[in-house]
Amino acid sequence: MSPERRYRLLLLSYPRSYRGQRAEEMLDVLLATEERRGPWSWMSEAVSLVGHGLALRLSRPIAGPAFSPSVRLAGVSLLCLLAVLGAQQLAAAGLRGLGLDGYPDDWRVNVLWVDPRWPVHALWVTTGLALLLGWHRPAVASAWAAAALHTWHLVVTAVTTVDLPWPGDVGRYWVAPGGIAPASWALLSVSGAVMLGGPAVAARARAGLAGRRWWTVGATGLVGVALAAVAGPAAYALLGNDQPQLVEEVRGPVLPLVLATTVLASGLLRATHGRAALLVLGVLAAVPLAARWSETMGMLGAGMVVFAAGFAVALRGRRRFPSTPGPL
């Protein structure tokens, strides 16, 4: 590889706009320096170029998609609720592993089946915590990591379930429960990340509700998690094996989510753009709710959400590009 080509490749670590201004000038200096300092000098130059290029990329403000304030507020709200859900899932897995969930079975660490989506749950919690603390850049990174990982689980599960050709064995630990209901949660994961946008957008969206209100939502969710942890074993002690579905519901995410959503909704109802945000949240929540009812309804709900999103994008496109005047 010629030195020029090598340096051009290394300069790709810089943002495109920066390269447009500086690449040719830097290339000139790099080639002259290599001539003076010897052919091996490019290795230390490579470290320096990649380091500075990446630092420049990370320090630039990230522009997220342009959504209306209500959609952005709904995005932050959704991610807060997902954080509560993640906390509940992690707490439930921990309690089950320690044998504290009230079941008489020999479910312990290394024996129980751990939901392979636990890293997604942990990332949801990280996103929620970062949003509460006002750390918008880590929040955006974490939300996108959760969305990517969740999508990966979905793809792996789908591929493994229908036995499609797949490059290499992904291992059973990656396979999450299949079906429309888990897929609908992945849809929410991706929607939350997309609606959150970049750090600056996330900061504006978070300001849609008072900081204290977000903390109240988080705290209420955690109270719900604690209540579910206690109510599960209590319900099992009272009902035994007669109502296993009810016991599962009590110990599941219903209680924390209902409590957190109630507090969130009461705040949104009084906030500017809050009612519209609540409507967006309602449409998104309809997908997993419908999927719990029946697979067909879940598919229908997901289709409607995708259609609504496409319709909204098309409307924005029409508004942005006004029709050209016709021939005179």
Binding site: E25, D28, V29, L30, T33, E45, S48, G51, H52, A55
Partner: protein
């Protein structure tokens, strides 16, 4: 009081204060000023030039196309000269204090040796 300059920044300003230079000449000048001790990487040079330009300490003097590539020449601004002068004063002051203490220590060492010899 302004923050002390990092050594590469100090050397770049020192190189440019002698007259406008293009990127490669700045690298060569810095190496020469530091007696070959500091060999700036190109990435480091341009990161420093970006920062200095943003702070108004350095400005682009001229642009020309050489061998089909853009070559910019940089110069120190008035603010850049003042910052460099302030840094030189600060370093000179520190060097004086350090030298005075070293002299004091040396003379104390001599007197201690003299006392020990007398015993």
């Amino acid at each position: 009081m302004s923050k002390p300059l990092h050594e590469p920044t100090f050397l770049i300003l020192t190189a440019l204060v002698g007259g406008p230079l293009h990127g490669y000449a700045v690298l060569a000048e810095v190496e020469s000023i530091s007696g070959g001790r500091v060999r700036l990487r190109v990435g480091t040079l341009y990161a420093a030039l970006d920062r200095l330009t943003e702070e108004g300490l350095v400005a682009v003097e001229s642009e020309e196309v050489v061998n089909g590539r853009l070559r910019r020449t940089y110069r120190v601004t008035g603010a850049g000269s003042e910052t460099l002068a302030a840094e030189v004063d600060r370093m000179t002051d520190l060097a004086k204090k350090a030298r005075a203490r070293l002299r004091g220590r040396q003379s104390a060492g001599v007197s201690t040796l003299a006392t020990a010899g007398a015993r």
